[in-house]
């Protein structure tokens, strides 16, 4: 399929024409989108998956008498009819309280600069590459099975609203995940994994033979490692995992959509409240280059910005859509995002990070008699005040030194207590963009997570006694 094919001929004229149908509405937005994706998986000794797909469609969202109506579709015929449909379902709700922060119109077309485009790479080349990594792992002593996956997507989105914006954006991501499996002494399958991912360059997955080797060796180590003992410990979190920690433990709490109608949360999350020690700084921003949550405009046409959520330990700002900003008397931050055209945008994180601090890893280790070193993310979840996340790798810390490997390390805690308990932050920030975030029915949304090493006192670590 040619990359230059337009979603729709004369698209701007047709969108303008359709938007005229929305005279009754305070705002009407139309999004059109085309996505292509490829999925490859080798499982143990053979290719398991080679799937290709193309999806095209659109949606209309309309605010009528303070209530939202949304319509999504695959056929791009009759856009005016779709606008009418969105207005008609909004009217079924009667009058509501939704109001929008005024929109400053933008006309922009933002192509991504791709170093090597995965869509230009012959499938055979990718198959050979992934097959080779898979064989490296499978040949490794003690490995009983493997899963080697590659996937890429590319999408183009067009956004237009009644307020006069017309914005074209595109995005791609190529990701590889290598997983090796070995039985533990009870015959249960333990695994180790690692990944490579890029928003701008297919070649990020080249030359990963050493990574495949490391994953296989680690699977054997994990299978023979003792389980962590449950308890309350000091925990040092590595830079890859710090990003997931701050995403789960704090990021979701900064999303204003659960605050703007909830007076109890507004009381707790008053800007200016102390969240942590003065070394703690937390940011979110789609302006961070080339990460999962990078874009120039959000899905309401608001320009991206860098938002300082926590500054010197004090709650400084939160993430907004046009509606939540208007309701709280604050300003939109460019965080209204939809995973695709089948969903209305909601307030989401983009690239979230704990900012670098004054300490070093050695300083963090020095006075720990017994603690846990947690490395790379293995999922996480939050219910706002309470959060949990898993570590892909865990080690014990004994008398200031990183010691033997432990398995099944998961951490849980109360957000407010845990942020207060961060007593050291290092200066070695790393960014990671392999992860996807889930909220409501929209998952996985590409996000970036960043951070340096952090040390958290009195962490609850799950595990058998």
């Amino acid at each position: 399929m040619s990359k230059e094919v337009a979603l729709l001929p004369n698209v701007r004229e047709r969108l303008d024409e359709a938007l005229k149908t929305g005279a009754d509405a305070a705002e009407v937005e139309i999004r059109l989108e085309e996505t292509e994706s490829t999925n490859i998986a080798f499982q143990k000794d053979a290719l398991e998956t080679l799937d290709k797909g193309v999806s095209a469609g659109g949606c209309v969202r309309a605010l009528v008498n303070g209530s939202w109506g949304f319509a999504s579709f695959n056929s791009l015929e009759n856009l005016p009819g779709r606008v009418e449909q969105a207005i008609s379902v909004a009217k079924a709700l009667g009058s509501g309280t939704g109001k929008l922060f005024p929109h400053e119109p933008h006309t922009d077309s933002i192509p991504i600069v791709i170093k090597r485009d995965p869509r230009d790479v012959p499938v055979t080349e990718t198959l050979d590459l992934i097959k080779n990594y898979n064989e490296i792992m499978l040949k490794s002593e003690g490995i009983v099975s493997t899963l080697s996956r590659y996937m890429h997507f590319h999408y183009r989105r067009i956004f237009a609203n009644k307020s006069g914006s017309f914005i074209e954006q595109e995005k791609m991501r190529a990701t590889m995940v290598l997983l090796a499996m070995a039985p533990d002494p009870d015959g249960m399958m333990q695994d180790a994994r690692n990944f490579a991912s890029s928003l701008i360059d297919y070649d990020v997955i080249l030359g990963k033979e050493a990574l495949a080797d490391e994953v296989a060796k680690r699977a054997i180590e994990v299978a023979n490692a003792p389980r962590v003992k449950g308890g309350v410990y000091p925990v040092i979190v590595d830079p890859d995992l710090t990003g997931t920690f701050v995403h789960e433990a704090f990021g979701h709490l900064s999303e204003a959509d659960f605050v703007y109608e909830n007076k109890d949360w507004q009381k707790i999350l008053t800007l200016g409240r102390k969240m942590g020690r003065p070394i703690l700084n937390i940011t979110d921003g789609a302006t961070v280059p080339d990460q999962g949550g990078t874009y120039k405009f959000d899905d309401e046409g608001t320009p991206a910005q860098l938002t300082w959520l926590v500054k010197d330990g004090i709650l400084n700002d939160r993430l907004h859509s046009r509606e939540t900003a208007e309701a709280l008397g604050e300003k939109p931050t460019g965080n209204a995002r939809a995973i695709n055209y089948r969903h209305a945008p909601i307030v989401r994180m983009t690239n979230t990070s704990i900012e670098p601090g004054p300490n070093t890893l050695d300083e963090m280790l020095a006075d720990i008699k017994y603690g846990i070193y947690a490395v790379r993310p293995h999922g996480g979840q939050t219910s706002l005040e309470q959060f949990t996340f898993g570590a892909d790798e865990g080690f014990e810390i004994v008398d200031g030194k990183i010691g033997k490997r432990l398995r099944n390390v998961s951490i849980s805690g109360n957000l407010f207590k845990t942020l207060e308990n961060i007593d050291m932050i290092s200066d070695d920030r790393k960014w990671e963009s392999v992860g996807g975030c889930g909220k409501g029915e929209q998952a996985p949304l590409p996000v970036g997570t960043g951070g340096p090493h952090i040390r958290i006192q009195d962490c609850i670590v799950g595990g058998e006694s």
Binding site: K52, N74, V232, S465
Partner: protein
């Protein structure tokens, strides 16, 4: 000529066999946030997936753009020489099972009806407990699917799906309590009333906060807390067995679990979201025994795995979305109930816990069964009664060991939460707490 016929005809010329799956869906939903009705949605979705077989290999392409049959056929046929092995044969005839997968009344539900029912639900919940703030969603879909292959088999079916939840939360400095009740079903009936009753009762049970020292306790896991069963679902899937990713590869006929445990995949269970007359490859839906009295009976299969392992397919060739090839997946995994009600299970516990909501099931290992999850809603039981809610706890163990060595009782009330299961009372579950 229909689009399906056109694609099949073109594909036949360039392949050994071909199969087309065409689906369309129509969804209406309404959402409430902080007691207020916020959003109504009308969604339409359609697309087509083509699978071709050339020299025993699969070429697959799926798209929502149905205006270019030649492109669809060419893309799939070009991929086939590079594709994965397919050991089965596409059947020459489909024999749909007689199942309840389409509910006329649910199909007729419109946005107006959802608004009425949902406003009534949120209103009742507020009347019963106005300290809490409520979010809710009601969502109903009608799905039609047609599957046809070049050996002449063809079937069409319609499904209705209802999904909805009520979430009640009470937010205080230092204590945020959130309780959700939800249903995912083939039919929309009285679920909202049930959610109101349960949510209001649970908000009351949870109002008293107590502490419990870390330790091993008898523990009731409710169906909502059974997200941790993922590794079991993986272990009983033939795709995993074939790749040595299941610990049960050579264990058919062996006692793997407590003798009170009976598990099957029930493709015929009425009004379940996974129920349809044939699977996504056209194979007749059926009940497949997996664990009987703790003994491993077999696995779920698609056409390819059944052929590879020399057994009959089980009607579990499922598509995880239009753009995915059919692979063995569950219709409804049923954990067969015992005879004690939840109330009786609680009454029999001297000192223990009841866990109703967990977080972090997906951060556990997907294969080993080891888990370490955060308890999002857990209660302390003393002398047969719930005395209050405990906070900041974690629950750890191993799913396989738990079902083998730690089962005390199986409850009687089934609830679908991704699997259809009753509450389970387990012995010596490890609870870590900050206290």
């Amino acid at each position: 000529m229909t689009l399906i016929d056109e694609i099949l005809n073109k594909a036949k010329a360039d392949s050994d066999a071909a199969e087309v799956f065409q689906t369309s869906s129509e969804t209406t939903s309404c959402a409430w946030s902080a007691d207020k009705l916020k959003l109504a949605e009308a969604k339409e979705s359609s697309g087509i997936a083509l699978r071709v077989l050339i020299d025993g290999k699969v070429g697959f392409f799926a798209t929502s753009k149905i205006d270019d049959p030649d492109f669809i056929v060419k893309t799939a046929c070009d991929l086939a020489p590079l594709g994965s092995e397919f050991a089965g044969e596409l059947p020459a005839e489909f024999k749909p099972a007689d199942v309840d997968s389409f509910d006329e009344d649910t199909a007729k539900v419109d946005a107006g009806k959802l608004v009425t029912v949902g406003n009534d639900m949120v209103g009742k919940a507020r009347d019963a407990n106005s300290d809490a703030i409520y979010d809710a969603k009601l969502d109903r879909s009608v799905i039609t699917a047609e599957i046809a292959n070049s050996n002449g088999a063809r079937a069409t079916f319609e499904k209705t799906i209802f999904y909805g939840y009520l979430y009640g939360s009470i937010t205080r400095e230092g204590d945020v309590l959130g309780i959700y009740e939800f249903d995912h079903s083939g039919a929309f009936s009285s679920q909202p009333d049930e959610w109101v009753d349960l949510t209001v009762r649970k908000l009351k049970d949870a109002s008293n906060v107590v502490t419990i020292p870390a330790g091993e306790y008898p523990c009731i896991l409710t169906p909502k807390a059974l997200d941790i069963l993922g590794p079991l679902q993986s272990a009983l899937n033939a795709r995993m067995v074939l790749k040595d990713m299941s610990p049960y590869k050579d264990k058919v006929g062996e006692q793997v679990f407590d003798p009170r445990i009976n598990i099957d995949d029930d493709g015929l269970y009425g009004n379940m979201p996974g129920t349809q007359p044939v699977d996504d490859e056209g194979i007749t839906s059926q009940v497949t025994p997996l664990i009987e009295k703790g003994v491993l009976k077999g696995f779920i299969h698609d056409l390819h795995t059944a052929s590879k392992m020399g057994v009959e397919p089980t009607g579990n060739g499922m598509r995880a979305g239009l753009s995915a090839n059919p692979r063995a997946g569950y219709s409804t995994l049923v954990f067969r109930p015992g005879d004690k009600t939840l109330e009786e299970l609680i009454a029999g516990i001297e000192k223990g816990v009841l866990v109703d909501q967990i977080m972090g099931a997906h951060q556990a290992s997907p294969f080993s069964g080891d888990f370490s999850v955060s308890v999002n809603l857990g209660y302390v039981i003393e002398n047969g009664k719930i005395i209050g809610r405990f906070k900041d706890g974690m629950l750890a163990g191993n799913v396989f060991r738990m079902l083998k060595d730690q089962v005390l009782e199986i409850g009687s009330e089934l609830k679908y939460t991704g699997v259809l299961a009753p509450p389970i009372l387990l012995d010596k579950m490890t609870v870590a707490t900050g206290g």
